[in-house]
């Protein structure tokens, strides 16, 4: 501590160490938040449903997605990535996940939303298994904190069924 440089160095080192500790505490404080998000997805219409020339089924649908993810946000939340996936089982794969829509929620004010949209990404099966197929629509989200590790969760909404015939 005898010279300007030594004092500046000691101060900076200690200040950064404390900053790291504060960030750790901020990340730890997220554990006290118990989120209660809600989500509903309605399939308003099957726009078309066909077999591609290569044999894969493809379906286009209109969705109404509404969700309230406000409780996911804490003071340490940077943003939330959310996507809606169709999940179903086929003889070949025990779990197929197809992302139909996604979005980035930048703040708590935008976390309660509803959107009326056709599927943003194409709903194509690996094969021809979609006729009359029961599927789940699952809302997944990944919370990106300002400091600390990301965490993810989902809401599974079962009980959707595709038509028996192409249209």
């Amino acid at each position: 501590m005898h010279s300007f440089g030594y004092r500046a160095n000691a101060l900076l080192t200690f200040a950064v160490t404390i900053l790291a500790f504060m960030c750790t505490l901020a990340s730890f404080s997220d554990n006290f938040n118990s989120p209660t998000p809600t989500a509903q997805v309605k399939v308003l219409n099957i726009n078309w449903f066909q077999k591609q020339p290569n044999g894969n089924d493809e379906v286009s649908m209109t969705l109404n997605i509404s969700a309230d993810l406000q409780t996911l946000f804490t003071w340490n939340t940077k943003q939330v990535f959310v996507f809606v996936a169709a999940e179903y089982e086929t003889p070949k794969n025990s779990l197929n996940q197809i992302s139909l829509w996604d979005g980035i929620i930048p703040s708590k004010e935008h976390a309660k939303f509803w959107i009326h949209t056709s599927n943003k990404y194409r709903f194509i099966d690996q094969g021809s298994n979609l006729r009359g197929k029961e599927f789940n629509l699952t809302m997944h989200w990944h919370v990106m904190p300002k400091t600390g590790k990301m965490f993810a969760d989902k809401i599974v909404m079962p009980g959707y069924r595709l038509p028996e015939e192409y249209r």
């Binding site: 501590m1 005898h2 004092r7 500046a8 101060l11 200690f14 200040a15 500790f21 504060m22 003071w75």
Partner: protein, 93 residues
Amino acid sequence: MDWQGQKVAEQLMQIMLLGFAAIAFATGYIMGSFQMMIYIYAGGVVLTTLVTVPNWPFFNRHPLKWLDPSEVEKHPKPQQSVNANSKKKPTKK
């Protein structure tokens, strides 16, 4: 900066930084604003730097009192040359 000043500067630096960190974290958590925590802490670091890093007169209140040069003649260093010579002579023989 004298010895006493160095001790005070180091203690002041640690106490001020920890204090600002506690205030910043509490304020940020209560207001729900991470940004506020960072701003308060950054302000605290700048203030602490200004207080403890420059060599303020405050840190020089206890200057070392060196002995007057005339004291050297009054208290001569113990002469070791006699001992050294007597020890080295046997090895040379």
